[in-house]
Amino acid sequence: MPDIQCFDEMWTADGTIRHTYQNFLNWFEQEDPKRLSRKQSETEELFRLTGITFNVYGREEAEERLIPFDIIPRIISARDWRKITRGIEQRVRAINAFLHDIYHRQEILRANRIPKNLISENAAFLPQMIGVSPPCDIYTHIVGVDLVRTDQGEFYVLEDNARTPSGVSYMLENRETMLQMFPELFSQINVRPVQTYPIDLLRSLASSTPSAISSKPTVAVLTPGIYNSAYFEHSFLADEMGIELVEKQDLRVIDGHLAMRTIQGYKRIDVIYRRIDDEYLDPLNFNPESQIGVTGIFDVYRAGHLTIANAPGTGIADDKAIYSYMPEIIKFYTGEQPLLKNVPTWRCIEKDSLSYVLDHLPELVVKEVHGSGGYGMLIGPTSNKREIEDFKNKLKAQPGNYIAQPTLALSTVPILAESGLSPRHVDLRPFVLVSTQGITVTPGGLTRVALEKGSLVVNSSQGGGTKDTWVLEE
């Protein structure tokens, strides 16, 4: 039975099934447990064969690894999804308005809603973008919003991913796998489809072309190459959209336009979905050491001859220090109260917060402001005295580098363990597309699950797995 301290999405605290999972449970109870565990192990073979792998940096022997997949779906009711969607739309609207403002008039700074140095001293702020207006004024074409569900079942935003969010290929392949494994489930339960994502993505990319383009735009995906940890996803998306997957060596700036080398010479590219960080995008304009960037691509962009998705400089919006100001940002640009809550956050750069954090480390989670992938963080409750002491020194040395949050009791969803259903902590990353027609949230997302009992770390780089995520029809 689930841990009573946190919200279990399948069972209520007194052990009755939640309505959302009723139909699934009916099916599950009819199934032979042996068949299910066999299916569970079949999925691994399937994933390996299709090459759904990711590369772990710094581990030679395991160049390609699988993210474990659990066959028990994570189910979200139509009602909850409506709330999530509205909250995300509001947030993404605010993020785009914030980005435009911060690279133009900086009204929000003039209004003193957020401290000036938070922007001016922030490494994610790209001075080269000041005064540059992206085509169609869209900064974030693709956003992944990380949500967690806590004690009373309410959704909180844990993180906004406004640079190059990854994981969408897992959302699609997980569904594909479930359809293959358990077709009968989908005829019994009305699950909203996610398979339109690649088409929606292509449409959204093609809609935001540079203004001078009149004919059908050429769109391409830019990858650092086959050794990148997310290469599978890059090739998967290019394949699904039916567009070229390009690398630095294919590209060149010719006559003020970006062009790719085809077997019949160079061909112009109008929109590029880049999966390369700002810093490495262009050795001429950013980090000169970049081995994966395209010389002069930013000049083409600035001249309005290319759409880069997402726009350079969007990282300032998902910076963890900015995150704590998101409620302010939403109010400032939309005039509304935030529909989705932020997790309470202490900014260690503030003196009072720092001393609170230092006193309460064993119960807090401390994150690096620019970190990701679950690296460089401290989880107070599971750390020993020495780790906490070490972290205290780091905090004192560079308080501006850290934020702290309470250790959240992430909600649980069961996985299929050897003994049967067993609850594990999960989070959720829905994927959001912004186009000239508006904001689309694909009904589903990536549910990451901490496979180890009691663990709160869901990152795939640290032993997390994934689940198919079902949003039920109205």
């Binding site: 390996r48 299709t50 090459g51 998967f236 394949d239 060596q249 294919d250 790719m260 077997i263």
Partner: protein, 313 residues
Amino acid sequence: MLGRTANGLFWMYRYLERAENTARLVATGQRIALTRNRGADDEWRSILQTAAVNESYNEYYPSLTQDSAIDWMLRSEENPSSVFSCVVAARQNARMVRTALTGEVWEAVNAFYMHCNSVLKRHLPERDIPSTLIGIRQRTALVRGMTHGTMLRNDIFDFARLGTFLERADNTARILDVKYYVLLPSVTLVGSSIDNVQWESILRSVSARGGFRMEYGGAINSRDIANFLILDKRMPRSLAFCTSKLRDNLGYLTSTLNEVPPSYSQVECIKKNCLMSGIESIFEFGLHEYLQHFIMLLGNLSRQIEIDFQFCD
């Protein structure tokens, strides 16, 4: 299509073809070793030569044994032409051009790689070699079958075929050349009784025993074998057959271009100058000289294709 994608496809299929050819050579060598007691080491020497890995072998091993020769050709990660290295390279290229392949082809290549990764990772005892070679052959056949059954007949397919037939022609030419060296004394004595096992080994190395028998009956002689492997247009590994496929696929690729690229002219030249005269004149010219020239022309053609289709910057 991107030039880099064309490059990846070309090499992916070259490596697959090479893996298959190498596996077949090992099978031939093992068979000869089993049927003859003396001279087996010489046989391995000529097989290493055929696969063009003789010199690199000598750098790694002090002496020639069947065991290490097989290891070098099948499993070695040091030998870039070993079956294992070829499969790794083919799959690496496939990963690079993943968007140009159908899911079926990709999965067949990936499964081939996974298979080799498990069976070729440790030393192979002699008794496991036949079944391992069969496994390799079946998996290359699966990739080929998926390629034929699921891929569109477009430029992607053309580059895949160019890689396949360039590698195959090169392989056939080498086998014939090396084997003739070994057989030289008997070749010069036309009509003498020759070592049937050796002749058979040539046919086995190109899977042509059945086809040859059908065409020429049981008696084997040097002239017929050379004719069969060089000029017979129906024999799928002959130089004439491979060249005509290269010409076809280059023709499809260039049909939309305004001018004929040099690679197409080159393949036309190969056809006209090397494949139109009879086997007698080839013998007159000198078979060894002829084959060496042919191998060189193939190398030039490969480089010209890379240039014409902008494989690299």
